[in-house]
Symmetry: C2
Subunit: 206 residues, 2 copies
Amino acid sequence: MVDHEERRRQISQALWRIAAERGLEAVSMREVAAAAGMSTGLVQHYFATKDDMLLYATGWLREQLGERIRRAVAAVPQPSTTAALLRAVLTALLPLDPDGRAETLAGIAVFIRALNDPAMADRYSEGRAQLTAAVADLLAKADPADGGRRAEHGDAQRAEGVELAAETLLALVEGLASALLLGRLTTERALRILDHQLARTGAVQG
Amino acid sequence: MVDHEERRRQISQALWRIAAERGLEAVSMREVAAAAGMSTGLVQHYFATKDDMLLYATGWLREQLGERIRRAVAAVPQPSTTAALLRAVLTALLPLDPDGRAETLAGIAVFIRALNDPAMADRYSEGRAQLTAAVADLLAKADPADGGRRAEHGDAQRAEGVELAAETLLALVEGLASALLLGRLTTERALRILDHQLARTGAVQG
DNA sequence: GCCTTTGCACTACGCTCGTATGGCAAAGCG
DNA sequence: CGCTTTGCCATACGAGCGTAGTGCAAAGGC
């Protein structure tokens, strides 16, 4: 017997390798098969259509991203501060090493497709919503002792501010990611920008 | 006689219309010709190859973006504050109306191509550099009366801080733009985020 | 008024794409 | 052992692509 899931994972991996190297437009059944070291027929055997393949591959990609974030969080030295965890999550979203670069490129490919494909858009937005929630959660915990502020604003307004800050950070990270991909920003500079923003967020939050 | 430039502009317009509606991958000589109401041969007559067409079209797109920003700046009510000008430039980069949406989508198409095409990457980065410079310029002017700070930091460090802030704002705007395109953020929310950031930038700059 | 240049249309070639289909060896099972 | 299922390969078809080439009508200069 053959491990079908394993085969599908192999194919997904080959797909994103091509997408990262030459763009999603270069992804074809034949190319994927060649990159995976299989016959075209075999790929077709596991994915009846190209859309099936892409759908599975995007799901797999999301798992990969989740794992990447979990790894980054786990790598934060103990005892971990909430601020450090937040930074770990956000930097995990930046293309700072070859793997990260490939994943970011693949993510962009999904984004592009989402622009003209409602099903993909749902999938994408759902993932982003989870991310936003996670970041907002960390921000809420990281909230510095703010004395009178808590009296000033109600809980609802506080949550609103936190979510706004989370969306700000994620949007910033997205912009930094594309700049990094084009080499328009160096790693150091991107991290400086992110850290600067994190410092401000901690100070002025709400 | 025929106005060749006008023809080329018409073709570029048709090209971006398709790219905005169905992605750059849907752009073909035949599709562009059809959208422009011309024969395929005519398009071919003005652009010998597809690459020629794309190159011209991206140049045209940049002009359009420049004009859009100029219009936005001109629309700022007099007497204009530097902060208002800055906000005008940044919001002009967001897809807030159909035209802006089309231009943003087209910009993304260029970005994607730039990822795998050095010539395009140069062109793109150059444009972004100009934008960064313009924003940094505005930020430098908008610098609030900061008393001792000027004594504290040298001019070089001040310039560095300003450029960092400019890159932060542009990265944020880029992230906001993609969120807006997917409907993941509302216009109001994106503007709130931007304004919030602008407020922080004014206060904590350097 | 001819004749060259200009502006444009049409067709054809070679290629790659997604997908459908048929066959074939090996494995599993009664 | 025989038979069915599984896993895989090879080929073919129709469509769309970029591009090359040819032809033809109108315009412009002499």
